[in-house]
Subunit: 229 residues, 2 copies
């Protein structure tokens, strides 16, 4: 850490947040449509500049709230990594710190921010062309999510407080993109001790299902071995 270079030579620093949730079309990502050039009208990951006295985490949460209306209480926000190729923004040098936000319930009132015409959910399997290097960033986020889901309790960030075993299994299948045997899944999942039986039932059109809750204390046990190798 030597001389501070000339003030004019500092890159701008932004945060971009990849917002992921489970929707009707499987794993979905929230994108905003750009109002102004460059990449006008194209879809992009929501984000914005970091204020001078604000931590990166705080900036990510603030921008998420401003651009989409999602509060950090509804989401699991985590840093992904920084992206800083010199030509990634055609206007000027911008280093961005990417975040992921896993959203528990998808029924959130989205609101468009000042520079985004609108926000919308897209299936990760049917993405539009994205602005800047946002496709790279999104790929990186999905890669990490698929890893985290297997080796950590990340999956619970995509589910509401209580959920049925079938919902949990669907969450795994949709994020990992594979099928899981129902009986093996239930036995293994319950054996981890990560689930608490709420003794409640989810009524529906058919036989009601037991509702479970994730036991936070179980986090260390889950990290020991991957759930689905």
């Amino acid at each position: 850490v030597r001389q501070d270079p000339n003030q004019n030579l500092r890159p701008s620093v932004t945060v971009d947040t990849i917002v992921l949730a489970l929707g009707e079309r499987g794993l979905e990502v929230l994108l905003v449509q750009r109002r102004y050039p460059p990449f006008q009208d194209m879809w992009a990951i929501p984000g914005g500049f970091v204020e001078i006295d604000e931590s990166l985490d705080a900036a990510a949460r603030r921008e998420l709230a401003e651009e989409t209306g999602i509060s950090d209480l509804q989401a699991t926000v985590e840093q992904l990594r920084a992206f800083g190729a010199p030509e990634r923004d055609p206007r000027t040098r911008v280093v961005t710190v990417a975040y992921t936000a896993l959203v528990r319930a998808r029924d959130i009132a989205l609101r468009a921010g000042s520079d985004a015409a609108q926000a919308a959910w897209f299936s990760v399997d049917a993405l539009p062309e994205l602005a800047f290097d946002h496709e790279t960033i999104l790929s990186c986020a999905l890669l990490r999510l698929r890893h985290q889901v297997r080796y950590s309790p990340a999956i619970f960030g995509l589910l509401p407080d209580t959920f049925t075993l079938t919902e949990l299994q669907n969450a795994f299948e949709q994020t990992l993109g594979c099928e899981i045997d129902k009986r093996n899944f239930r036995r293994k999942m319950l054996a981890t001790g990560a689930l608490e039986d709420t003794r409640d039932l989810r009524a529906g059109n058919h036989r009601p299902a037991r509702l479970y809750r994730y036991r936070q204390e179980a986090a260390p046990h889950l990290q020991a071995r991957p759930l689905f190798p």
Copy 2:
């Protein structure tokens, strides 16, 4: 990505590189002693400012070479994550992007940079007090290394081009901090198909040992299941 804030309100951006290698005292980290305040005379992770037209990766490799004399051909350089708490540098707002560099051979001529009085290797189990938030950054790097070593071919970044099975086992034991059964290790390791028998032997004071080389093509196979769950 809205208005670019005033130029004066931009954070400085630095890269800091955690250089790790296997030495006589197990896993060791390269630190530099600070010449000037703040934290004068304390030890710190080597790093410096990112140039305006330089990618983050390039900055990390450049600083590594400048401050320690290690070329990126001798090391596996990878981004860790960004650290950006507003008060992490008492002088001004600095966002740093941390990198890890795994060094293959420890017999490298270290040279001190302009602002570092000297550079030296420290066992990760006997660290001095570190400047800034560098202890946090280092913990984060070690945590990730221990993870990567189990789920990726990262361990080979800490070994020379050819190595014996015992050296490979020691590398695992020293980074993971646990003992591994020799016979099980050899059987399992050879079964991965990740090693190529060079047909050479390492002569020593005792029975010579076969030398192996890591087969790059085997990377996907290694990622499927952790080597040491």
